[in-house]
């Protein structure tokens, strides 16, 4: 119990302090700082004011594609609710689902209004891109590698150790290493670029190539983590069940779908939660590889908070971080309650 209290003290203090910061204007002066309470003005600036283009993106009218997307998402959510309302309804569960649904709806409206309508999106969109696309890619590759390495193959200790190596390198080092890799004139792949006639092609000048390079670097670093945890889960799958499946004449895919997947799903969900939490905080790679550029197109919310801190605008930095915390907590808690607990319940 003392340990719990200690964590409580040390983690709550920064939380409260940055909440205070985000609600005030901080001015540095010699030997200290002045803090003045300004209410929600920092958040207002991010969401509706002069920082809106930076945080949310630029808006014009929503295109047809955007409307189709919004309506489709809305329909999905309504369907989800109608299914839920048919079963037993608990008040807290209902409130939680309403919060989840409104967050998803808000994010899809944002996506429709920026990306699908041909506008640039801000740091929020970039962060979600890293979290969703990055985690999905890393999960698929990590799972594939873990399945392969769970087979009885020769030299698998070697492969396991090698696959674990990227975890051991500092993210700063990885950022610089991938900046070397991606250099089109001096990097190791420059003959490849030249072969395709891309000598003067600067990946860092195009928003989507820059983002994909950052996702590649991030994947290089994080796939080992997912791989190791999933491998451990795969080897906990009871072998006799798989053999029984073989005896019954099930093929590989059926065995995976009916036996392996249900038993590794809780671990997979947990590892995805941890990975998503870390992805929300991605900052080293975009800072080193592109410094958030071109423009703001690779800037994650954490990086925005970091730049704001360096400005130095502590209050805006804290406000951005609080917005990030709010979005991340809503999404992660939804994921925890709706996916992880359900998987655990299915096992037990």
């Amino acid at each position: 119990m003392p340990a719990v209290i200690m964590i409580l003290i040390f983690s709550i203090f920064p939380l409260i302090a940055s909440l205070i910061l985000s609600l005030s204007r901080v001015r540095l002066r010699a030997g200290g700082y002045d803090v003045r309470f300004v209410g929600l003005r920092n958040f207002e600036k991010q969401l509706f004011g002069s920082e809106q283009f930076h945080f949310l993106g630029t808006f014009t009218s929503i295109s047809l594609l955007g409307w189709v997307f919004i309506i489709a998402m809305g329909a999905l959510l309504i369907r989800w609710f109608s299914v839920y309302l048919r079963g037993p309804v608990v008040v807290i569960g209902l409130i939680g689902r309403i919060i989840t649904a409104s967050m998803i709806l808000a994010l899809s409206v944002l996506l429709a209004a920026t990306l699908l309508s041909g506008n640039q999106f801000g740091t929020l969109g970039v962060t979600l891109f890293y979290v969703l696309v990055g985690s999905a890619i890393q999960f698929l590759i990590g799972l594939g590698l873990a399945i392969i390495c769970a087979q009885p193959i020769w030299g698998r200790t070697f492969f396991r150790v090698v696959f674990f190596l990227p975890m051991m390198i500092t993210p700063i080092g990885i950022g610089y290493a991938f900046r070397m890799m991606a250099d089109t004139t001096k990097g190791p792949f420059s003959p490849v670029w030249q072969f395709f006639g891309l000598r003067d092609f600067a990946w860092a000048a195009d928003a989507w190539t820059a983002r994909s390079f950052i996702v590649i670097g991030d994947s290089w670093q994080w796939i080992p983590f997912i791989f190791v945890v999933l491998l451990a889960a795969l080897e906990n799958v009871p072998r006799d069940m798989i053999e029984a499946g073989h005896v019954d004449g099930a093929n590989g895919w059926q065995i995976f779908k009916e036996i392996t997947w249900p038993s590794i799903a809780p671990v997979a969900a947990t590892v995805m939660l941890i990975r998503a939490i870390e992805a929300f905080k991605l900052v080293d790679l975009p800072n080193i590889m592109t410094a958030g550029g071109p423009g703001i197109s690779t800037e994650s919310m954490t990086l925005q908070a970091f730049f704001a801190w360096r400005a130095p605008d502590l209050a805006q930095s804290a406000a951005v971080s609080y917005l990030l915390l709010f979005i991340a907590v809503v999404l992660c808690v939804s994921f925890f309650n709706l996916v992880i607990l359900k998987r655990r319940a299915a096992i037990a």
Binding site: I7, F10, R156, M168, A318
Partner: protein, 358 residues
């Protein structure tokens, strides 16, 4: 499953520990074999190539780095140890200082983290906590009041925290019984992992101010304390899983024999959770070793760590000193790999099943 079955199953490590497990026999079709091995080798290449590039960059002359890609030592370029000589011989004092800081900080923060975290995890796995919702709310509000009074009105921080603690104890005694709603262990666990959601950039500003007010900036102690707190949630989460997996019978029988809670924890539970301990230690140590932002904020000269040295190779009008940076990255990897090799021996020994049947 009967006891006979149990004795025949070889004891296997759990968790991340399974990384180092021995292969088992089986068969595969030749075509499948080719596909599997080509995939494995493609991925090995993808993983190793950046490392190889760092390694050869560290023995290149600046001109070899800047004149375009050179792949093979002795063929495309002549290896030269100038960067190694600069860092390891000529500027050894400047390299040694962050290196020593990093070692000290990673070592002590890992130990503190494992010590506190595993006890907390064990408590959460074995004891049902029912803290009252209202008590927690009260605690948070008092903390907030204390922080506001320190930050906004400039009250002395010792006075503020002491009076807040006193008020909390008094109120908790007086009102504690009246609160009805309580939270369970799973809520505490989730709350802990949620602590990691807050980006370090945010937490580090208040932490910076906190250490500034107690004049501990740029000390190893400040960074050790911060890393310990930051990594605690991971330890608690991972160790909770490992402790929950240990059967309760052993502890109950020890309790019957008259062993105290702490004896049970140190003599019985910890040795059984050795696998998990080793894996978690490795993970936490890697996190502490590689952390950048907290170290950047909390240190200026005396307490600099290695990741800052890596970033420092980018300074100056000459651009990035790739060759030196590669050397630093390599000497940073070496201790981690050694650590992994040392811990692997503990990891690969599963003792749980043997203990149950003995």
């Amino acid at each position: 499953m009967t006891t006979d079955d149990l004795t025949q199953i070889p004891s296997r490590p759990t968790g991340i520990a399974r990384l180092f497990e021995a292969p088992q026999m089986g068969k595969m079709s030749p075509a499948g074999c080719v596909i599997v091995y080509s995939l494995l080798f493609i991925w090995t290449g993808f993983v190793l190539f950046p490392l190889y590039w760092i390694a050869i960059t560290s023995v290149k002359l600046p001109i070899d780095v800047n004149s375009g890609p050179a792949y093979l030592p002795w063929i495309d370029f002549t290896p030269n140890l100038h960067a190694w000589r600069d860092l390891v011989v000529l500027e050894w004092a400047e390299t040694l200082k962050p290196y020593r800081n990093s070692v000290i900080i990673a070592f002590f923060s890992t130990i503190a983290c494992m010590f506190i975290g595993s006890m907390a995890a064990y408590a959460l796995a074995r004891i049902e906590y029912k803290p009252k919702f209202g008590t927690i709310l009260m605690f948070v509000l008092l903390m907030a009041a204390a922080s506001v009074s320190v930050g906004v009105w400039g009250v002395d921080w010792r006075l503020a925290s002491a009076s807040a603690a006193a008020i909390f104890v008094l109120l908790a005694r007086a009102l504690g019984r009246r609160f009805k709603r309580s939270v369970g262990n799973s809520d505490i666990l989730f709350w802990m992992i949620s602590q990691r959601i807050l980006p370090p950039v945010v937490t580090v500003v208040p932490v910076y101010m906190m250490f500034q007010s107690v004049r501990l900036l740029d000390t190893q102690f400040a960074i050790i304390l911060t890393y310990t707190v930051v990594n605690l949630p991971i330890v608690v989460w991972l160790m909770y899983d490992f402790f929950s997996g240990i059967p309760k019978d052993l502890e109950e029988s020890a309790q019957l024999d008259g062993a105290s809670q702490f004896t049970i924890f140190y003599e019985i539970v910890l040795p059984l959770a050795r696998t998990g301990l080793a894996a978690t230690t490795l993970l936490v140590m890697i996190f502490a070793w590689n952390e950048y932002i907290v170290a950047l904020f909390l240190s200026t000269t005396k307490a600099q760590t290695m990741p800052i040295l890596v970033a420092a190779m980018n300074a100056g009008e000459k651009g990035v000193l790739w060759w030196k940076m590669s050397v630093v990255i390599i000497i940073m990897i070496i201790p981690v790999v050694l650590m992994a090799l040392v811990l692997q021996r503990f990891i690969s020994r599963g003792v749980l099943l043997g203990a149950v049947k003995g």
